[in-house]
């Protein structure tokens, strides 16, 4: 397909997060903006957005939730006729919620994702990683993104939601329709519609046939101030788990596999030192943070000298913040035992990723299980790796041999 987009004139005034070379490797571009006299870039593309790249600015934005609202969290405006945050009245709480509702929207789901709560998914995750590896280990080659990473979060989330594994392909397609191909407005609309229709049917089923130890049933029975939570909330949480829980974590796992394929010294370090794992996972999340969230400016404001208008979109480029040399020494280097790591791969402030402990577990178990079975591996051809990018960055094809 010919790329018909107009060439980027200057990253500072005309960046394009969907431009193919930016998708494949956004870090030099982030660095160029960050180290320029104008570390908050602006573009008129896709109806306009701002792009802060310094750690301090990104964190300050995340903390100022009253000014930088979560009415919209995607850089692309919704298709004509669709509401900003919600589709058919269904949003993705608490990501798309603002205070005061944000408080209970978040409070209700946090216990599901606390460290002690997600620990019960460890063995299941390991089992499914092993089952995926069984499929290709004898071939001596595999696509670490498409044959491995891609299948892990979708199955974990399906388990949590109590929905069948055979929806995996549809879920993956819908989530990509919302997050990766958001400039294809028809596909985005169709994908959102499919997600809501699917979960509406699941909710109807749970109402008739309540299940034990089932998240959807539990959500339906949850009361806030003596009243059952609205159905839109339940649907919204299901939507959130799918959209926020699949593409993001799969991208992180894929990037980690891509990194490890090229760094035998890091594989060796992890093999030889079990104690290294916790900081290693945080370091990999710092360097390969997959997610960039967007915010909508509530009112005209000057932020770090930038005249932002009510309704403007602002990108919170956590991947750019995580490589700011003002905050991290040798920021582009992976240092598995990095001593100081205030990374914001999961964001910061009241909207910080609710599922982070699950994501960490999945990334760690995916890498541990792979290294146990396939200690030595390398890229087949670095140039053939393909990437998704924009607001979620990670490899979509990454052939390795072993």
């Amino acid at each position: 397909m010919t790329d018909t987009r107009k060439p980027v004139e200057s990253l500072l005034t005309d960046y394009d997060i969907f431009e193919p070379s930016f998708i494949a490797n956004p870090y030099p571009g982030y660095s160029e903006i960050r180290e320029s006299e104008c570390p908050i870039a602006h573009t008129d593309r896709y109806q306009g957005s701002w792009l802060p790249t310094r750690y301090e600015d990104v964190v300050a934005l995340a903390q100022e939730y009253e000014v930088f609202t979560s009415r919209g969290i995607l850089v692309m405006p919704p298709p004509p006729g669709q509401a900003e945050g919600a589709y058919g009245g269904v949003a993705a709480p608490p990501i798309t919620s603002d205070p005061p509702d944000h408080h209970w929207h978040r409070r209700l789901i946090l216990p599901v994702f606390a460290p002690q709560a997600v620990a019960k998914y460890e063995q299941g995750t390991k089992d499914l990683c092993n089952a995926l590896i069984d499929e290709f280990i004898d071939k001596g080659t595999a696509d670490a993104a498409a044959d491995y990473a891609q299948h892990i979060p979708v199955r974990v989330i399906s388990t949590m939601l109590g929905v069948p594994f055979d929806m995996e392909e549809e879920f993956t397609d819908w989530v990509r329709g919302v997050l990766e191909n958001m400039h294809d407005l028809e596909r985005r609309k169709r994908s959102r519609q499919s997600i809501i229709e699917f979960f509406l049917a699941q909710v109807e089923d749970r109402k008739k046939n309540p299940r034990d130890n089932d998240l959807i049933t539990e959500l339906l029975n949850t009361e806030v101030e003596g009243k059952k939570v609205p159905i839109e909330y339940v649907l919204g949480v299901c939507n959130l788990m799918l959209v926020a829980g699949i593409d993001t974590t799969w991208s992180a796992i894929g990037s980690v596999m891509w990194h490890m394929a090229q760094h035998p010294e890091h594989r060796k370090q992890l093999r030889e030192n079990d104690d290294l794992w916790p900081t290693a996972i945080e370091e990999l999340l710092r360097v390969y943070a997959p997610v960039t969230m967007a915010r909508i400016v509530d009112r005209d404001i000057e932020f770090q000298g930038c005249p932002m208008k009510a309704g403007d979109r602002v990108l919170m480029a956590f991947p750019a913040a995580n490589r700011d040399p003002r905050q991290f020494e040798n920021p582009d280097e992976v240092i598995l035992d990095r001593e100081h790591n205030r990374h914001v791969a999961f964001g910061s402030g009241i909207h910080r990723c609710a599922g982070s402990n699950l994501a960490r577990l999945e990334v760690r178990v995916a890498l541990q299980t792979w290294l146990e079975r396939i200690p030595e591996f390398e890229l087949v051809d670095p140039a053939s790796v393909t990437w998704a990018g924009g607001q979620v960055h990670g490899p979509r094809s990454c052939m390795v041999k072993f």
């Binding site: 964190v59 946090l110 460290p115 945080e282 990374h343 910061s348």
Partner: protein
């Protein structure tokens, strides 16, 4: 811990000192002074909190 948003970086840096409540927010596991042998880890937790919510006083 008012500004804790559950990053869990403290529990990763110093699991003997910091834990998690049912929401995934940090709890302090040690009453009173931090034992000398854990001070290094506690300082590391302080330096790793993205919300700067941990302040260790002398």
């Amino acid at each position: 811990m008012g500004s804790c948003h559950g990053h869990q970086m403290c529990a990763i840096a110093a699991p003997e000192v910091f834990g998690s409540d049912e929401l995934g927010n940090a709890t302090v596991l040690i009453a009173g002074d931090i034992p000398a042998e854990l001070e290094g880890k506690a300082r590391r937790a302080e330096a790793n909190c993205p919300e700067r919510a941990i302040i260790i006083s002398e």
